[in-house]
Point group: C2
């Protein structure tokens, strides 16, 4: 803490994945003193060991759909200190994210993940690759967007944390919040959320609880004190698609509301709709997320903020880079 | 994050100050893998380069009021990796805390502060000593007890934070909460708080806003981007002693309540009673604290938890030790 401003020394970053998160990292990196030496989407890449022209590349991506003239696959083999893996989360084999991570770690480079797949579905494989590497791995952005969940867990020590629970999916929370305040049905609010861009055209990942469950699986892996590996298959998951508007009305009559709550303890992962007293910490509204850490010595810590969004998630990624 | 459980390697700690916080650090250190090699109160010290018997020393302190046979002053010159400075916060010259910090840093040891004095009243002097030392300094426990305020600020970079505000004094917040819910006057609630041990016999430090202001001054020093030093003299401070019960009743009629809110921005420090909408994040009840960070890229982050207490503050100190 001597001089926090100068703590982050500039690093060379390769960013794989050119969606909202990858694009925001490329856009913001120079603000944090870093240089982007490689940037890839699914079909192309821009590479320059001295730093790509980020404005030009982001404009090109907007206008043409590609980021550069090189083949996409060359990015992970380019010159960089840290690989930022921001391709879409995939289940099962977690590809291509896992291969990107492995290539970078085998080169003894550091890796920062935005992609939940490798640490949710293949945590033991990731630990094995990490064990054989001089590189480090961080993945704050995979849980709770801008909220410093994993770094707080790390600082206070996972052994001191008895449970983590939270509202970890902004889309589901937006829908439940609107159902409660407007008294309208799930289908109507979902259509509204899709119009606003808060829900995807295929909302299953969010409304069926999969996304929240992946985040809780990651937390369970970090909390696990006996090296047990958790995957999505170990989680019990219920979504919000079957909640009638009348359930929220009944809850409100008793001063309660319904939230999609995920919980990770050292022994399991559960995600489902829960009755929550109104005006308490877990009853966040809209797209905000909240995480509660139950600790042995420090009581309950509540951390809340924006759980998604390009710049918000990029902020968590760049915080990880500064902690490497 | 490869294996967070094993991240903390055991350190030798010297703890100066044997109040609730210093005692809790001594009590909990072994849980985190550390050894206590020196422990001092204001009149005596226990010293053993191989580790003191912490249970015996804490029992002795309870029974006799002293921690050992050695002179108190030998602790800072003993064998240790990290000095934990937990003597009472003093204003102005911040002694004896400042001298303890200087001695340890001049020996190129690391220092973790629970004492607010050195970083609130002599931040520039501390930076000078730090500049000439190979040791590091951390002071998470000085702001918000168990809440990871400074480490979050450090991770997301102070340059990205435009303001920090919060409810940072549990005693004042307990009194305001009780005044609002019970409709009783300041003097009555203060007496109750003193009976419960929530307020000191001389409550001035808490109820006049000094304690909250010192925390905000520390935040301003960390946020300062132009090396400007802040001290308590730079803060505008109002306390809660003149708030009539009727003010809280009037506030409640409009769906609001009153909280003692402190704010630090890169340009100043202000502490005073503020009207806050009920059931919003800043309206925490009882002795809980909350801190809101306004950031450039990550929106607003809210962190809340226990702002005081021996084990809670010790938890923050031991998190600092793990980050050294």
């Amino acid at each position: 803490m001597a001089d926090p401003q100068s703590r982050t020394t500039g690093k060379r970053l390769a960013v794989v994945g050119a969606g909202a998160v990858g694009g925001a990292v490329v856009d913001l990196a120079s603000e944090y003193g870093h240089t982007i030496t490689a940037f890839a989407d699914s079909t192309s890449a821009a590479i320059d060991p001295n730093g790509i022209d980020t404005d030009a590349v982001l404009t090109r991506k907007d206008e043409t759909g590609t980021v550069g003239e090189s083949d996409s696959s060359v990015a992970v083999d380019a010159t960089y200190d840290v690989l930022i893996e921001a391709t879409p989360t995939t289940l099962g084999d977690a590809q291509p994210g896992f291969s990107h991570l492995r290539t970078a770690l085998e080169r003894d480079r550091d890796v920062v993940l935005a992609n939940k797949g490798p640490v949710a579905e293949r945590y033991a494989d990731v630990q094995q690759v990490l064990h054989d590497s001089d590189g480090s791995l961080r993945f704050e952005a995979t849980v709770g967007g801008a909220i410093p969940v994993l770094s707080t867990l790390e600082d206070i020590s996972p052994a001191q944390v008895t449970a983590v629970r939270g509202v970890l999916n902004g889309t589901a929370n937006f829908i439940l919040s609107r159902m409660a305040t407007e008294g309208i049905n799930y289908e109507h609010v979902l259509a509204e959320a899709q119009d606003l861009g808060v829900a995807e055209a295929d909302p299953a990942f969010d409304v069926e609880g999969t996304d929240a469950a992946l985040k809780c699986v990651i937390l369970a892996n970090v909390l696990s004190t006996d090296n047990r590996e958790y995957t999505l298959a170990d989680a019990t998951v219920d979504g919000i698609t079957n909640i009638p508007g009348s359930a929220l009305e009944l809850a409100a009559e008793e001063g309660r509301t319904i939230r999609l709550v995920g919980e990770a303890t050292p022994t399991g992962v559960h995600v489902g709709p829960r009755l929550i007293p109104q005006n308490t910490a877990l009853a966040v509204t809209g797209t905000r997320n909240i995480v509660q850490l139950e600790t042995t010595n420090a009581g309950q810590l509540n951390l809340s903020g924006r759980g998604a969004g390009g710049p918000e998630t990029a902020s968590a990624i760049l915080a990880d880079v500064s902690r490497l």
